[in-house]
């Protein structure tokens, strides 16, 4: 089927049908469970909810969960960009293999990832042994959580950036260079603005994936109260006590924080995309 981009008349019919489909699908899959969560949590009075959501242990767990997720997503944003760039721009033997490796964290069951990482980074592990000799303990500390989350989040950044980098033609860089831009200027002024929205998307995906991650983290975290307990573990802990309502209280708090953060990142992205468009369109014609 040829797809033409004509704005006034749509080639494919059935807008109302597809919109209906989308709404029903989203409601069943996302909204219904979420409203169930809200409904369960509404069994609590506001005071009880506040008590549960802001206990010392809960607060410590938010700090760890969001802090480690943020750090991991930042690390991935930097190194994921480099990986994506290398995979798109250069050809070298074994490129296909490395490209396939990137998806591994998607495919590997998270518990397997957690157990493997814990073994590697523990004080007798292949990597942990050397880290320890520098006085750095990785496994069973908050640092271990960051390692696991970095592992989990990598493909999100790489996979969102790759198609965008493919779209940037190397000629643009050549043009910048021939117009006298330094390498740094080319990167900062020409390449990066085009990548930034996609980078933010990748960052956001990695970040939100990390917040909910449980399977890999609990095996490497050490799970010490107030030090290395993540919020999903506290939720499981509540469920172990058959305290479903308490678990939903924590889940609601996580959802609210995540939603606020995602909204902020999306706004930033929207702003970046707009600024980018507003800047480049006239400037391509306006530059001497």
């Amino acid at each position: 089927m040829p797809s033409t981009r004509s704005h006034p008349a749509r080639v494919l019919p059935g807008f109302s049908l597809s919109l209906g489909c989308a709404l029903v699908y989203l409601s069943l899959l996302v909204l219904l469970p979420l409203s169930g969560l809200g409904f369960k949590a509404s069994h609590l009075s506001f005071y009880e909810f506040w008590e549960m959501a802001t206990g010392e242990r809960a607060l410590a767990s938010y700090r760890i969960t969001f802090g480690a997720s943020l750090l991991a997503a930042l690390i991935n944003a930097v190194f994921g960009l480099i990986v994506a760039w290398v995979l798109v721009r250069y050809s070298f033997p074994g490129k296909r293999l490395i490209d396939a490796l990137v998806d591994l964290p998607f495919a590997l069951p998270t518990a397997v990832a957690g157990i493997t990482l814990a073994t590697l980074y523990s004080s007798n592990g292949w990597i942990g042994r050397y880290a320890e000799s520098f006085g750095v303990k990785v496994a069973f500390t908050p640092l271990g959580i960051v390692v696991a989350l970095t592992f989990i989040g990598l493909p999100f950044v790489v996979r969102t950036l790759q198609p965008v980098i493919e779209d940037i033609e190397p000629e643009v860089e050549e043009a910048a260079a021939s117009l006298g831009a330094s390498r740094l200027q080319t990167f900062v002024r020409v390449v990066f603005p085009g990548l930034f929205p996609a980078l933010l998307t990748g960052f956001t995906l990695a970040f939100s994936r990390s917040i909910g991650e449980y399977g890999s983290v609990i095996f490497i975290a050490g799970n010490m109260p107030l030090i290395s307990e993540i919020t999903p573990l506290l939720i499981i802990s509540k469920l172990e006590q058959y305290d479903v309502v308490g678990a939903t209280a924590l889940a609601v708090v996580m959802l609210l924080i995540s939603f606020a953060l995602l909204l902020a990142v999306n706004t930033l992205q929207w702003w970046a995309a707009n600024r980018h468009h507003g800047n480049t369109r006239p400037s391509t014609g306006g530059k001497p």
Binding site: G55, E56, I115, N223, S237, L239
Partner: protein, 337 residues
């Protein structure tokens, strides 16, 4: 293309109908046993024994299905509608939960002999070969500088039993009180460099990653470690006191009445106390209730003084909220730190 799709659909639905008919035909008598995680090996050996016994006695072929996962997840699934005919758990609090929900009789513990627990185990120390830190009893384990590996005491059955074992030991000492016990347990927890995610994760951390001086786990787990890692890697130390861990079983009344499988479910659980069922427990390194059999396997099960959750902690219904609910003694220990 549509025709091909429709054809394929027709073939698929025919296949599904066949499968459905086959299922309903063979389903005259089947039981679903919802159980805890590490009981897999036990029931893998036990089910064929029972099938043979049942066939010999009634001529009926019975289909037995197993479901294994973390015990509190399992009972929640049963409460949410997983149609288990019987539950076989590793902690009374899990069956209590089903009793509260009206799925299991409140007096389930009295419906079968020996507190409805066909076999028991106890918590022991697993130390490195040669016992380099000379860990003989609980006080050695709480000494500064000893690293103890245990699963999370709040979130795992295994960890809870370890916690209560240490608590009970301290209570049994001259001058022992709740205060001294809490102090004793807090010293134990201070020696834990991490809380493993579960029993098996604790074993991996201790045996494979070689972290810690002592692993506290079920006696039955020690045998599995020997099978996995070889006997020369570790030693088992029996402390002067430990906790008797019980593994309660129950019929899910609501389900068997609906399915009409009460007779089979009753026989399935009764058979756990039969000589064959007890022998199977011993072979899986779980202490049989049958005292004669326990003597026969004395080498495998050295005598140890034990207390139970019922006699020392007033049952799980009291022990759980006191120690493991939010604000319980475990939480208090961490707030005090």
């Amino acid at each position: 293309m549509w025709i091909r799709f429709a054809n394929r659909f027709r073939r698929l639905s025919a296949a599904l109908t066949c499968a459905f008919l086959a299922l309903t035909a063979s389903a005259q008598s089947n039981l679903l046993n919802v159980s805890y995680d590490v009981a897999r090996d036990f029931y893998k050996d036990y089910n064929p024994l029972f099938q043979k016994h049942w066939k010999a006695q009634t001529g009926e072929t019975i289909e037995l299905r197993q479901s294994h996962a973390g015990s509190s997840k399992q009972v929640r699934a049963v409460a949410d509608g997983l149609e288990a005919d019987v539950v076989t758990m590793n902690q009374a609090s899990d069956v209590d939960f089903l009793a509260e929900k009206g799925l299991v009789a409140r007096d389930y513990a009295k419906r079968f002999p020996t507190n409805a627990s066909p076999y028991t185990s106890t918590m022991v120390f697993i130390v490195r070969q040669g016992n380099p830190k000379a860990l003989k009893d609980w006080p050695d384990v709480v000494k500064p500088g000893v690293q103890v590996i245990l699963p999370h005491p709040k979130n795992t059955g295994n960890g809870r039993y370890t916690y209560l074992a240490a608590w009970g030991y301290a209570l049994k000492q001259p001058g022992g009180s709740e205060r001294t016990a809490q102090d004793f347990v807090s010293r134990l927890l201070k020696n834990a460099p991490l809380f493993a995610a579960g029993g098996r994760d604790a074993t991996t951390t201790f045996m494979q990653r070689k972290i810690g001086d002592v692993l506290i786990s079920f006696e039955s787990e020690a045998e599995l470690i020997a099978r996995e890692f070889g006997k020369g890697e570790f030693e088992v130390v029996y402390p002067s006191w430990s906790i008797l861990t019980e593994f309660p079983v129950a019929i899910v009344d609501k389900v068997v009445d609906k399915k009409g499988t009460r007779k089979q479910a009753q026989a399935y659980l009764d058979f756990l106390w039969s000589p064959a069922g007890q022998e199977n427990a011993a072979q899986n390194y779980l202490r049989p209730r049958d005292t004669a059999l326990l003597k026969k396997y004395a080498q495998q099960f050295p005598p140890i003084r034990t207390f139970t959750v019922d006699d020392t902690f007033g049952g799980w219904a009291r022990a759980f909220p006191t120690h493991f609910k939010d604000g319980g003694t475990f939480d208090q220990i961490y707030q005090l730190k």
